[in-house]
């Protein structure tokens, strides 16, 4: 095979592969990028440091226990400022925002949320240095919190 032909083949294959990957990523989580931008105001979000603790299988979408833990020393210099809980496939995806600080001692919050679909529950944490971190958990709901009734 000529060099030119090989070059064309590899570049088109690469470009095609990249395009497929991008399309797949966009389809797996449609609207996630916009939602994150809405919460963070366009700041970069890093994955890690945030743990979302939920039952993997929830019987009742009207009330699903969620606990968010963030890896942080919670000192005056280095603490979690804010935790935002997101349920992308709910009619209103921003579930709640919690403000914490060095008085908290630990970076943790627990509540019960509604889930309108089987989905990833995401938690975004903003640290005192302004950086954003994200974690999530996939929750399968057997009885969805339906919109009516």
């Amino acid at each position: 095979m000529s060099d030119r032909r090989r070059f064309l083949l590899t570049t088109t294959a690469l470009a095609g592969g990249l395009l497929c990957a991008r399309v797949a990523a966009a389809q797996a989580h449609p609207g996630r990028a916009e939602l994150l931008r809405e919460v963070t105001g366009g700041a970069a979000v890093q994955t890690g440091r945030v743990t979302v603790d939920t039952p993997p299988l929830a019987d009742n979408g009207h009330s699903v226990a969620v606990r968010v833990l963030v890896d942080s020393p919670m000192s005056a210099q280095d603490h979690v400022r804010r935790i935002t809980l997101l349920a992308e496939r709910n009619p209103r995806p921003v579930v709640a925002s919690f403000t914490l600080g060095p008085h908290s001692g630990k970076a943790e919050v627990a509540t019960r949320i509604r889930l309108a679909d089987i989905q990833d529950v995401l938690a975004l944490a903003q640290m005192s240095d302004g950086s954003w971190w994200m974690g999530g958990a996939h929750v399968v709901v057997t009885e969805l919190a339906c919109l009516e009734g």
């Binding site: 009330s63 809980l85 403000t99 509540t111």
Partner: protein
């Protein structure tokens, strides 16, 4: 609004305690129709603030994604004996308040 606050009665200074509050509230999503098919307007507790001896230690801004009869649990580092004051407000403008005392012993 009925509520229940759970704060340990006593703690050591510096200890991280878990504080819990449950409030009786329907947290209406605004999507639910009544018996006549009319939409029940959205009415959720949108803001809750917890102060410990006057210092804000926790704040929650909530939407319709929080389940009815909201339950919140969060940690606080015990500093001095005193009082936890919870205050909240819903979309209809109704306010609620709840208090709990704590005795903190040295070290």
């Amino acid at each position: 609004m009925l509520s229940r606050v759970q704060v340990p009665a006593s703690a050591r200074r510096g200890e991280v305690i878990q504080v819990r509050i449950a409030i009786q509230h329907p947290m209406e999503t605004g999507y639910r129709p009544d018996h006549f098919g009319r939409r029940i307007p959205k009415n959720v507790i949108n803001t809750l603030v917890c102060r410990y001896n006057g210092v804000e230690v926790f704040r929650a801004e909530m939407g319709s994604g929080i389940a009815a009869n909201p339950l919140l649990q969060f940690p606080v580092r015990a500093q001095d004996s005193g009082e936890f004051v919870f205050e909240w407000r819903d979309d209809s403008g109704e306010r609620g308040e709840s208090r709990a005392a704590i005795t903190v012993s040295a070290g």
